[in-house]
């Protein structure tokens, strides 16, 4: 119990101390928040961002309509497109690479590919492209996104994800779509789809497609 006779008079010192500690914690938090890696590439001009946005919107529509021909037309002729649902495998060779010719048969192909190990279970995914796209890439209607981000730190901004993209494509620029809210059936709460582009002879070409969800999908 409180002993009134012996207790010291109330002082404000500890409040100041508390405030100082709070300030320290805040400053630490801010320092961590601001100690982000600076983009090494110059910022995109609005015209380039507009182009990327338009291309990606068309790609998403093509993906929804399973229009492989239109999709293939955007793919980088030299590098192909690297498709993955696992940022861990994205920079590795494991991720599946589709040349424009392969891409044209994307939704028709019956061949099963190994698509890397997703973050959810680590079990390898072996599926046909069409099935993989249905379950892992276009698992939501990305033509109606909640958020679109153009070559900036995105919503699912864990930096390692961006670093993986940067590791795979040092000159890549990306557009990320995300959809929130619980999806139908076993779909996760949040789903994001990023398209990575590189410039070749004055045109933007698709070099990477990375999909991610929260919580991560297992299969």
């Amino acid at each position: 119990m409180l002993n009134l006779k012996t207790s010291k008079p109330f002082r404000f010192g500890h409040i100041l101390l508390g405030a100082a500690l709070n300030a320290l914690v805040w400053a630490g938090g801010l320092a961590v928040a601001y100690a982000e890696e600076e983009p090494k590439l110059p910022l995109l001009q609005p015209a380039a961002k507009r182009q990327l946005l338009a291309i990606t919107t068309r790609l998403v529509a093509a993906g929804k309509a399973k229009d492989a021909v239109r999709f293939a037309a955007a793919v980088h002729p030299g590098k192909g497109v690297r498709i993955s649902a696992s940022y861990e495998d994205f920079a590795k060779l494991e991720a599946t690479i589709f040349t424009p010719a392969l891409m044209r048969n994307f939704w028709k192909s019956v061949e099963e590919y190994h698509w890397g190990n997703p973050a959810g279970s680590g079990d390898p995914i072996t599926l046909t492209p069409a099935e993989f796209a249905r379950r892992f890439i276009f698992d939501r209607d990305f033509t109606a996104p909640d958020r679109i981000e153009v070559d900036r730190v995105w919503e699912w901004s864990e930096h390692f994800v961006i670093n993986r993209i940067r590791a795979a494509f040092p000159n890549g620029r990306w557009v990320a779509f995300s959809v929130k809210g619980p999806g139908p059936k076993e779909n996760p709460e949040w789903s994001g789809l990023a398209f990575v582009f590189e410039r070749l002879q004055g045109r933007w070409y698709l070099v990477g497609v990375l999909h991610q969800t929260f919580p991560p999908r297992a299969n």
Binding site: K49, A144, P145, V150
Partner: protein, 213 residues
């Protein structure tokens, strides 16, 4: 009963009042948090509506860029008109400026000077012509190449702020955001608020947002 000396009473009262103050603060924060975390008053949008809104606002952005007054006027709410806010918070100001379709059609041709609001630093009136207002307060950045487009009314986001919810309880906002360049505070956001009127999405608000003092 309790025989307290004055200094003891003072001590007790200090304890009492500091506790009360702490509780008051905590309770206030709790309410605030509850309000922030509270469900949006509107149901989440379905995909078709989101797609439609995105198409409409993309068109609006290019119209604002090109100065295509007729197309914008065709989109303006026929009954309510469109309200311009130099800052997001201005939208709850009942006196803020509203343009109807006819005024909107003359947006880039009229030379009339209007009062659009107040500078947040000095409190001076923003008094300019519409075309100049557009240059400085609507399309001051190229929003046709944004860094971020936000559709959802997510908790704590600018387009789900109390102000917007109060001013446009039935409105849906789409925000175009341009990130700051390195070392500057020159980010900007432009939001269009649309409301459904007779089955059609109509423009009721054009809100601008920059760094404020």
């Amino acid at each position: 009963m309790l025989n307290l000396k004055p200094h003891q009473l003072a001590h007790l009262s200090r304890i009492f009042f500091s506790t009360a103050a702490a509780l008051w603060l905590a309770f206030g924060r709790m309410l605030e948090g509850a309000e922030l975390a509270g469900e949006s008053t509107q149901p989440p949008l379905d995909a078709a509506t989101k797609r439609e809104l995105l198409e409409i606002t993309t068109q609006l952005v290019s119209d604002w860029k090109a100065g295509n007054a007729w197309r914008i006027a065709a989109r303006v709410h026929p009954r309510k008109g469109v309200r311009f806010s130099a800052y997001f918070e201005d939208c709850i100001n009942p006196k803020s400026i509203v343009f109807d379709c006819a005024k909107m059609r003359a947006f880039w041709t009229t030379r009339r000077v209007y009062t659009w609001g107040y500078y947040d630093g000095s409190g001076d009136r923003i008094r300019t012509t519409p075309s100049r207002y557009c240059r400085e307060w609507i399309f001051d950045h190229d929003f046709s190449g944004p860094d971020r487009i936000v559709m959802e009314r997510e908790t704590g986001s600018s387009i789900d702020s109390r102000h917007l919810r109060t001013a446009y309880p039935r409105g849906r906002a789409v925000e175009y955001f341009v990130d700051p360049t390195e070392g500057h505070m020159d980010w900007a956001a432009l939001a269009f608020v649309l409301e459904r009127y007779r089955g059609r999405w109509c423009l009721v608000g054009v809100l601008h947002r920059t760094w404020q003092i």
